[in-house]
Symmetry: C2
Subunit: 372 residues, 2 copies
């Protein structure tokens, strides 16, 4: 398959199953991509990430720009070789992280100046710099440099959206490598008119894929789901759609239900480091003394390495004894849960029973156990 | 092979190659066993420990007695099932750890009372209690409860040795399970007469294997190597010999040269957590900025997962960014280094050129790079 070909294989309601070809292999969607912020999915080897079923990982431009530096990564043969991951990689633009540094960054129409969280030195990111960094890193999918505003402030959301559009054009102009797909990002907070305007403007620029940015950052679930539906009703069907930074069981199902193809999130690995196991029935905190003699795996229906080999009692022991293996085993399980959910949704879409699948799974996340 | 059969396959000088059969498979010696103190080889899954070539792991009675408790482990099906390791396991007796609690333990002829390092509660270990705990844990090889004295204090070494002999007999009497091999431990500090007496007394008790305890605890290398040679000249050849707690490249070679078959040590995983890589050419500290752009693996001759996939530059990045994966990748490499060294020594013994092998390897650990 020619790189960056998008094949829409099935549509069921608004849910879609497709394939996106990249230079490092094809991605079957819906897909959940584990996050490897600093060129490592925390606590796991690439072999483990591969074994748990991940098709693609994400790495962060902001972090790798500061440490070890994108030029060093390029000298070492690029990100795939550096981190020993031979399947697709997606890098974000650095925008989200920089704008999160509320107190130590200054935005102008050209870009952003900010203080490094590592050594306090002044650094600069702009559309052109972000693209240069992402070309040095060498991911298969790279992202336009955007401004992510506080989603409930209309005036700021409008300004940030306009800047995002101007910057998207500059990213397209700056891009040189032919072996990377640059995705445009829709902004506009939780405001229907801004999101519609942004979806139209970004769609018109000819990107090979589109992302929905600026969600899951504090707005209500209702606002988030409505916004996804509104944006996807405008984004063209013949390009993949990526909902950035979203990764709960519930949000994956609701996202696919509204036409999203690609997800990523730090949540599964972050929860793992806080002793929390995700599952299709809700979350378990393995610190709980109630698991001390529990011979069951985290999820009896789960086929991950952790659930095939270890009891809750053993995991509780590791957590209690502050053993590093706890984070690795819980990361494997949590990531597998979302990776497998995406695959199961794909199968349901291809079989044309997605809505029944979604309702069944959401019902099992009972009120008591629903993720918070 | 009937469990606990020891087959001596080759002797070259004082170096030996053999096989020790256990209920969970045969151990080919010389062998290095990674330590999984709290029922986990720190930062690694059992699949990773298996893949790096380990034939057996060690777990600590002291730690597991206190947390999660040996009765809980027994309820969960025993240590093999609890930690998902289906190959041989060895447990120590708890003696070494308890006697290390210099300020919070009280020794009498019956046993030791000590304060738990976890909650400060008073606990007791004795030969009978240690055997009961080890029977609950269910390892293939279990160890007699011994007293490890300060190795350079003659009067105390003599007293501790006598107590060790009395306790060894009590351990034999207390033992009930037929599917575990109980090894006796030789003590006596660095004193030739005490070590000789201990080796004779312990040998006479009919254990299926013997250990040399109380070394690598502060004495000089010369004293350590001399003591090993003296003890092994007395221990019978028709039983395996285990040098407890020893695990540098140099000490493994010098130990095998003097007739040792089995080794264990926390050093490889501890060094890994301190950013240090072992190798047949000496150690590397991956914090060193000189490795920032070093495309080579830790050891170009090493076939471990880490060396097959990652550059020093990447490992240095992980260490610098305080990523958990650094400890896992360095643990894989360090453990593989000793596991492979033991296998290479076995091959050299079977080929009857061990002495040349030993001299070549020791020469490569040049003065500048020799392990400290």
């Amino acid at each position: 398959m020619t790189p960056f070909t998008w094949t829409l294989e099935a549509v069921d309601g608004n849910a879609r199953a497709g394939t996106f070809a990249t230079p490092h292999g094809s991605i079957r969607t819906p897909v959940f991509a584990p996050v490897g912020t600093q060129a490592t999915v925390k606590s796991l080897t690439p072999a483990q990430v591969d074994e748990l079923g991940a098709q693609m990982v994400l790495a962060n431009t902001y972090h790798l720009f500061l440490r070890p530096g994108d030029e060093l990564v390029a000298e070492m043969g690029g990100l795939h070789r550096f981190m020993a991951w031979n399947k697709p990689i997606l890098t974000d633009s650095g925008g989200f992280q920089v704008f999160s540094l509320t107190d130590t960054r200054k935005i102008d129409d050209d870009g952003v100046t900010f203080k490094s969280h590592i050594d306090g030195s002044l650094k600069r990111l702009s559309p052109e710099i972000s693209i240069r960094i992402q070309e040095n890193l060498g991911a298969d999918i790279i992202m336009a440099f955007d401004e992510c505003a506080v989603p409930t402030d209309y005036a700021y959301s409008r300004l940030a959206m306009q800047r995002t559009h101007a910057w998207a054009k500059r990213c397209l102009d700056a891009k040189r490598r032919e072996d990377q797909a640059l995705f445009g990002i829709v902004q506009g907070g939780v405001f229907s008119d801004l999101r519609a305007e942004s979806a139209r403007e970004i769609s018109a620029m000819g990107f090979p894929g589109h992302a929905i940015g600026g969600l899951s950052v504090g707005e209500s679930k209702a606002d988030m789901y409505r916004t996804i539906a509104e944006v996807n009703s405008i984004l063209p069907a013949d390009k993949p759609r990526y909902l950035m930074g979203v990764g709960t069981v519930e949000d994956l199902i609701e996202g696919v239900r509204r036409g999203v193809d690609i997800f990523d999130c730090v949540l599964p690995t972050r929860l793992a480091r806080h002793n929390s196991a995700m599952s299709m029935r809700g979350r378990l905190n393995l610190m709980n003394a109630g698991y001390a003699r529990d011979e069951r795996p985290i999820d009896p229906d789960c086929a991950c390495y952790t659930c095939r080999h270890f009891s809750r009692a053993y995991l509780r022991h590791l957590v209690n004894a502050k053993e590093m293996l706890a984070a690795a085993l819980l990361s494997i399980h949590n990531l597998h849960t979302l990776v497998q959910l995406a695959e199961d949704m794909r199968a349901a879409i291809l079989d044309k029973h997605f809505e029944q699948f979604a309702q069944d799974k959401l019902a099992r996340l009972s009120a008591k156990e629903t993720e918070k």
